[in-house]
Amino acid sequence: MTFMERLLAWRNERGAFGFYAVLLATAVLVPLLNLAVPEGSPLHMSTYTVTLVGKYMSYAILAVAVDLIWGYCGILSLGHSAFFALGGYAMGMYLMRQIGTRGVYGNAELPDFMVFLNWSELPWYWQGFDMFWFAAIMVLLAPGLLAYVFGWLAFRSRVTGVYLSIITQALTYALLLAFFRNEMGFGGNNGLTDFKEILGFDLKAPGTRMALFLATALALGVAFAAGRMITGSRLGRVVQAVRDAESRTRFIGYRVESYKLWLFVFSAMLAGVAGALYVPQVGIINPGEFSPINSIEVVIWVAVGGRGTLYGAVLGAVVVNYAKTWFTTVLPDIWLYALGTLFVVVTLFLPQGLVGLISKLKLRRGAA
């Protein structure tokens, strides 16, 4: 190992350690501040904030998914919001079925929007979503299958680079248009909302909120560990070789498309899980989640944090989304300027993102 390699390896290790420490601290402190500290105290954390942090963490899972495929494999997918939304819709369908007779129309068999559209029976693809285990499988299966079919076609015919980015964008755009249609049976424009309970627990209760938060934290930890395991494995090294020199890797004898496909499907499933955790916390899923701009936003989280490092992706997701929350409440008109400028500045001046900036500063200080 050269010095640089050793330095990078050490940095990665330290970054991962730091991530686990922060995640654990968050998972302990947030429930403590929310439940144990009395409400009047300045240290008390409101349930709203808990949900917000939970939302950031589900975004972080999505960022990990995108970083795996973009940062490590060099595939710039502009369609990951589609996988995120599909996972979200699978969870939303389960939550819809849990409403039962408590909907506006009180129909035990059909969700409100179907009654409104004068549908007489549940479409076949809604069957089974009243069972949590089935929905949980679909959360993985729906995005996974789409990614498999799409990736199988695209990687086998060696569609790469910007072409792949553009067709993934077209894919999510086509899905956006499709889910806007009332005839699709997914609630059209309004999407799925007005959820009541999950696994028998009231969704509005602080306890359920906390459980969802902890589940998301756990999922993020598992996703991160899985990502590290993959990138550290032999498979991960081949994937990185594909990123750096695809033709060369192929000539050596690796089936490049199989590696890509495997990673793409895994990444899509991870995005689906993120969507499934996101929906019960924010209480709505609508076709807007499919919009291409969302996918590109995820890419910018990863770019801001630092592509090619998983903790960088998590950092980017949290920082950018915190900035978004702050801007949209304090200076709503400025937000798009800020986001747009961030895109330009990061790509021009910070190719390694915040993580790269920090280590660059450290190196400089060490040299001085």
């Binding site: 086509a174 291409p292 330009v344 790509t347």
Partner: protein
């Protein structure tokens, strides 16, 4: 001449009575007979004025709607010089009665007595409008059309005949026949004969009806279609089997023509949509196709062009058309300069890193959108359509196309030709091609490549601005205008084959037509989805698009 006319009219009237249970026909029967006997085919406008006019006018205020229709007929036939003005005023809602039952017509300067035309002093508060209902308005229009038959201009007469064709009662037929005698204009004669044939469909003898059907052959207007299909089947089908069959055959023929013209219309719609796509994509064909730069802000450059058209119209509020024409070069300059700025500021630093270029220009597109929101408000702005672009071209009864659809195709072709000439016949074009094919060799030949890059990017961006001016005539001008076209534009360029202008043209047209052909089957949104899915699958099979680049230049992509 007199005999057969009367006979035909009597038969006609019998049919009419059956159809309308017409009180109108019943009331005017004696009069009509009298007139026909008197002068055969003399138009009533020339009949001597009696005091029919005065009695009819006097009884207007108290009459029921049914009576009013009869009174209107009486006024029309009176031959009074003011009859037309009175009926027109009535139709326009300008006929009033005062408390004493006197009728007043609202004119330019005030209220006038309809019979004498002399002004009177009346208070508007005392007046009550002589009302109309739908049926009465229809009748009034028919009567006024008969007056218009005597109009000196041929086009007005044609309009009158068409108006009368909607409701062919015997008075209308009589008037038409009278006009036919003295008509000199061939087009008007044609129209009148058609109308008479339409009336003849109600004739008593099956042979006459058959002849009428035969003479209507070739006419595909809605009235003919409706009458014939009524005769062919349904409740009011003709009693005679032979006539029914003939009518059915005629209906079938019209229907097949209809579907043919519908196909033509779909094709034209598709071509105009394709032109829009090509216009939106053609600038991208330069920046992405020739230079290989992914410019996600391309849509916003289109948007800048559209807003330029809006601003130009604000600057020249009295010359809408001129402002639009001027905004074509201005938009080219505005968007072109913006493009040069983007290239110098951002893209230049990212050559060879397409994914980073994509992200940076996407960020820029967000900034530009928000800038437009801040400056022009987030609401859509409307760009006015000048007179020479509005209206439609009527090919025949079944096919009419709005001018704007034709102009957009024409405009696209002009822009395409100009761009093609620029790239192939100018020294800038030569340099652009040289740099895109082999940058280092071009440098060695003394071409200032970075200058050429800026110019090329500016050219593509300027074309996007021009496309924006065209789009401002078709859709709402708002901050999201660009977003709506960016994905489509990329699809067109990739589908047609990167780096190939002809590919963009043919690809865009093919996608536009396919989209419109699918629309009647599956709906607009689904058609769009299907086209997107088709392109995604197509790229899997042929990455290089319809017309791949050949040779060394292709390897760079």
């Amino acid at each position: 001449m007199k005999g057969p006319d009367v006979e035909t009219n009597m038969q006609l009237r019998r049919n009419q009575q059956r159809r309308y249970r017409g009180r109108f026909a019943l009331l005017c029967r004696p009069l009509l007979l009298f007139m026909l006997w008197l002068g055969g085919a003399v138009a009533w406008a020339q009949a001597p004025a009696g005091n029919e006019f005065d009695t009819a006018v006097a009884s207007l205020p108290t009459a029921s709607y049914m009576d009013k229709e009869a009174l209107a007929g009486q006024i029309a036939r009176s031959g009074h010089p003011q009859a037309q003005a009175l009926l027109q005023g009535w139709l326009d809602g300008k006929l009033y009665a005062d408390a004493s039952g006197h009728i007043w017509l609202e004119g330019e300067g005030g209220y006038v007595d309809p019979a004498s035309g002399s002004a009177g002093k009346v208070e508007a508060d005392d007046l009550e409008k002589i009302g109309t209902n739908n049926r009465l308005r229809k009748g009034l229009k028919g009567m006024l059309a008969q007056f218009a038959l005597a109009s000196p201009t041929a086009s007005a007469r044609i309009r009158a005949v068409r108006e009368m064709r909607r409701e062919l009662d015997e008075s209308a037929v009589a008037a038409l026949q009278a006009r036919l005698q003295q008509e000199t204009d061939a087009a008007v004669t044609n129209e009148i004969e058609l109308a008479l044939a339409l009336a003849e469909l109600q004739a008593g003898e099956p042979s006459q009806r058959l002849a009428a059907i035969a003479s209507l052959d070739g006419d595909r207007s809605a009235e003919v279609y409706n009458s014939l299909s009524q005769m062919a089947s349904g409740d009011e089908a003709d009693a005679d089997a032979q006539v029914r069959a003939a009518a059915l055959a005629a209906v079938r023929s019209i229907e097949s023509w209809r579907s043919f013209y519908q196909g033509v219309e779909t094709l034209l719609f598709g071509l105009s949509l394709g032109s829009v796509l090509v216009l939106a994509a053609i600038g991208l064909a330069i920046t992405f196709g020739v230079m290989g730069v992914i410019n996600m802000a391309h849509g916003e450059l289109i948007m800048l062009g559209a807003y330029t058209a809006y601003v130009m119209q604000l600057l020249l509020p009295n010359h809408i058309g001129l402002a639009l024409l001027l905004s074509i070069p201005v938009a080219f300059i505005v968007s072109g300069l913006a493009g040069v700025a983007i290239e110098r500021g951002i893209v230049r630093h990212l050559y060879g890193r397409p994914l980073e270029t994509l992200l940076a220009t996407f960020g820029l597109s967000l900034v530009l959108q928000q800038l437009v929101r801040s400056v022009f408000s987030p609401l859509n702005r409307s760009v006015q359509t000048p007179g020479f672009l509005s209206g439609s071209l009527q090919f025949n009864d079944l096919l009419s196309v709005t001018w704007i659809r034709l102009y957009i195709v024409l405009f696209m072709l002009i822009v395409f030709a100009a761009l093609w000439l620029t790239l192939n016949k100018t020294s800038l074009g030569l340099k652009v091609r040289a740099v895109s094919q082999n940058r280092r060799m071009a440098t060695a030949m003394g071409i200032a490549t970075s200058r050429v890059d800026a110019m090329t990017f500016g050219l593509g961006s300027g074309i996007a601005g021009i496309a924006g001016v065209a789009l401002s005539q078709l859709t709402n001008v708002g901050p999201n205008l660009g977003q709506a076209y960016i994905i489509d534009s990329f699809m067109v360029v990739v589908f047609g084959g990167v780096g190939n202008l002809w590919g963009t043209l043919i690809g865009g047209m093919a996608l536009g037509v396919t989209n419109k052909l699918l629309e009647p089957w599956v709906g607009a949104v689904m058609a769009k989805i299907l086209v997107l899915v088709f392109i995604i699958l197509f790229i899997q099979r042929r990455k290089q698009g319809l017309f791949p680049q050949k040779g060394r230049a292709a390897e760079g992509h």
